[in-house]
């Protein structure tokens, strides 16, 4: 599973992307975030306030209960400010 980060989440992560292999029990985004936070920093800091974070799976905006699998590209970022 590929994870990508943008804006301040990328800065907190210290990287723009990484590949992770969560256990098969991780089937939605909420479980993925919980699993990442269990690994400690930088994840605990990055995912401290979920209200300030948006996500996309395979380039589509999704909610926190969206299903996620090993072949997905998951992006985490703050609310967008285009235009």
């Amino acid at each position: 599973m590929k994870l990508v980060y943008f804006a301040w989440m990328k800065e907190k992560a210290g990287i723009s992307e990484e590949t992770v292999n969560p256990p098969a029990t991780v089937t939605d985004l909420g479980q993925l975030v919980d699993w990442l936070k269990e690994r400690g920093e930088p994840y605990t800091g990055m995912f401290q306030n979920m209200a300030a974070i948006r996500a996309a799976i395979n380039y589509e905006y999704v909610k926190i209960d969206a299903a996620v699998g090993p072949d997905d590209e998951v992006a985490f970022f703050p609310p967008v400010t285009g235009g």
Binding site: V80, T81, G83
Partner: protein, 154 residues
């Protein structure tokens, strides 16, 4: 037509390209977004736009198709820059061409409202106190929400 690029663009040339050879067009509405030198009361030295290229392309294609579906458009241009920009620099350009002026105005406003709230771009401002990520605005969410249940006028 969609482009996401670091380079500047030429609004006059884009408008010409959009309308040339199509005498069914009665009106073209365009909007150019520019970097301001002041934001939230602080002087801005420069701004860097970061984006998510694969997602940007997909989402812009989707919203262009949605605008063409909602309004009777003869053409549509969306250009969004990324990278480092200074005050006065152009950031974004949208233009819509239609037989009718109302359709052109509404669809251009729709595209800009959508870009503000849905295009995966993030702005890092350089101020005298250092750098800061621009926060999303509730007013932009409200502006985008007004299109959710509003039928096109024409």
């Amino acid at each position: 037509m969609i482009r996401v690029q670091a380079e500047d663009f030429d609004p006059g040339a884009e408008l010409e390209a959009l309308t040339k050879g199509n005498a069914g067009i009665g009106g073209v509405c365009s909007f150019i977004g520019l970097v301001r030198d002041i934001a939230d009361g602080e002087r801005i030295g420069a701004m860097t736009l970061e984006h998510y290229p694969e997602m940007t392309r997909r989402r812009l294609e989707e919203i262009e198709a949605e605008a063409m579906r909602r309004w009777p458009l003869e053409g549509c241009t969306i250009i969004h820059r990324h990278g480092r920009l200074e005050p006065g620099d152009r950031i974004v350009f949208v233009a819509t061409a239609s037989a009718h002026r109302r359709a052109a105005f509404e669809s251009a406003a729709f595209l800009m409202d959508w870009l503000k709230t849905n295009a995966p771009f993030w702005k890092l401002e350089e101020t005298g106190d250092g750098e800061r990520w621009v926060a999303a605005r509730q007013s932009d969410d409200d502006a985008a929400a007004r299109w959710a249940d509003k039928p096109a006028s024409e």
